[in-house]
């Protein structure tokens, strides 16, 4: 670590990594194309499951482009990326656990709805 710093200081301590303009504009164009694609795909009537999956895949590709290039993760220390992806892991855990008991109270809610329907029918 100390050795690296010495060499870096010798090179003028370069911290700036300016991304080339064609790369930035190219990523933007790709993002716009994927946006158009996702709107088009939604209109193809693929059915609920398939269209959701396709939309999420396209959104994740767009997210990947923004993260790796605009947010510079492609060139950053791996720690930043690991920590960021770690958060998504916890979000998956959160949503996954919530989904395991989403129907837990359904019998009670159904009974309540049936009671209300019976009462308003009277």
């Amino acid at each position: 670590m100390a050795h690296d710093e010495k060499t870096h200081e010798a090179h003028g301590d370069e911290i700036a990594h300016a991304l080339p303009v064609p790369l930035l504009v190219g990523v933007w164009v790709a993002l716009m194309v994927f946006t158009g694609l996702t709107v088009w795909a939604a209109q193809q009537g693929l059915g609920s499951q398939a269209s959701f999956t396709v939309a999420m895949i396209i959104a994740t590709i767009k997210a990947g482009l923004v993260m790796s290039i605009f947010m510079h993760l492609w060139w950053d220390k791996r720690l930043n990326l690991l920590v960021f992806l770690g958060s998504f892991l916890f979000v998956m855990l959160f949503i996954g656990m919530a989904l395991t008991d989403k129907s837990e109270y359904k019998p009670d809610l159904d009974r309540k709805a049936a009671d209300e329907a019976a009462q308003s029918a009277q």
Binding site: A2, E5, L24, T38, A63, N80, S87, V91
Partner: protein, 276 residues
């Protein structure tokens, strides 16, 4: 480098005074508690990434609510999405994507000390953010006027089959249906498309869609506004020509926050507007 014995600390302060050594003298924006601009930058970067992680977890609460509600009542989401105009959602997506470009470009400008271009890109980012909020305001007012609100304020004055998006998905309305003619209504009731008759009545808990819609886009909008405040701050600093190859952290970190705001919208758009 990080020798924290009392003597070492005293030596560093007694000997060099963090403020007066070569690195600090040449760089007015190098804080005294950092040894080099690189160390300052990397610390700041790690800090902003930690903050972004808290933001993701913050939004995940609402994404969890969305997932649970949509898996329990997919009808509610299908019914509700017809009231959203995909065109404006797509325009907003394009606007935010362009603002991410100008934000990333601004970071490059700061690194290369291109003061004029930096100011321009920050101004463009702010303009896009304002456009986004303007479009959101227009969408929200429409819903307020149509009674499409969460909870007990849910008193819709529009029917889903009046929406052009409904006709696009389910074919044109039977003749006479929209005018309320008897034969039209009879035809509509016979016409079963996508599992429901042409007259798609609001399912139970329909207001949930709008609770989710307003909470998620509202929270996102608040983040856009906060981002605008940060960019105005960056604009002031940029006008003072403070940024350069050893000091561009604030612009870099503001851009990282801005990209996160864009990322969230990248997911919100298909989840709310492009439901099949």
């Amino acid at each position: 480098m990080s020798d924290t014995t009392v003597e070492a600390v005293q030596g560093a302060h007694g000997g060099g005074h963090g403020h007066h050594d070569a690195a600090h003298a040449g760089n007015p924006f190098l804080a005294h508690h950092f040894d080099t601009p690189r160390q300052q930058f990397e610390a700041g970067k790690f800090g902003i990434w930690l903050f972004l992680i808290t933001e993701i977890l913050f939004f995940s609460g609402l994404f969890c609510a969305y997932t649970v509600y949509r898996s329990l009542d997919p009808d509610v989401f299908e019914w509700g999405h017809y009231f959203l105009d995909t065109k404006w959602g797509a325009v907003n997506t394009g606007v935010l994507l362009f603002s991410s470009l100008t934000a990333a470009w601004a970071v490059r400008n700061a690194q290369l000390r291109q003061h004029g271009h930096l100011v321009l890109n920050i101004v463009l980012t702010l303009a896009c953010a304002s456009t986004f909020m303007g479009i959101k305001y227009m969408e929200y007012s429409h819903k307020f006027h149509a009674g499409l609100l969460p909870g007990r304020h849910f008193q819709p004055t529009e029917e889903v089959w009046e929406m052009p998006s409904y006709a696009r998905k389910n074919g044109p309305a039977p003749e006479g249906f929209l005018e309320g003619k008897a034969e039209g209504i009879e035809k509509a009731e016979k016409l079963i498309t996508r599992g429901h008759p042409y007259k798609f009545e609001a399912p139970p808990h329909a207001a949930r869609f709008f609770a989710i819609y307003f909470c998620m886009t509202g929270l996102h909008g608040i983040h856009v506004l906060a981002g605008m405040i940060v960019w105005i701050w960056m604009l002031v600093k940029a006008l003072k020509k403070q940024f350069g190859p050893t000091y561009f952290g604030p612009v870099d970190f503001a851009a990282l926050y801005w990209h996160l705001v864009d990322l969230i919208w990248i997911y919100l758009f298909p989840l709310l507007y492009l439901i099949d």
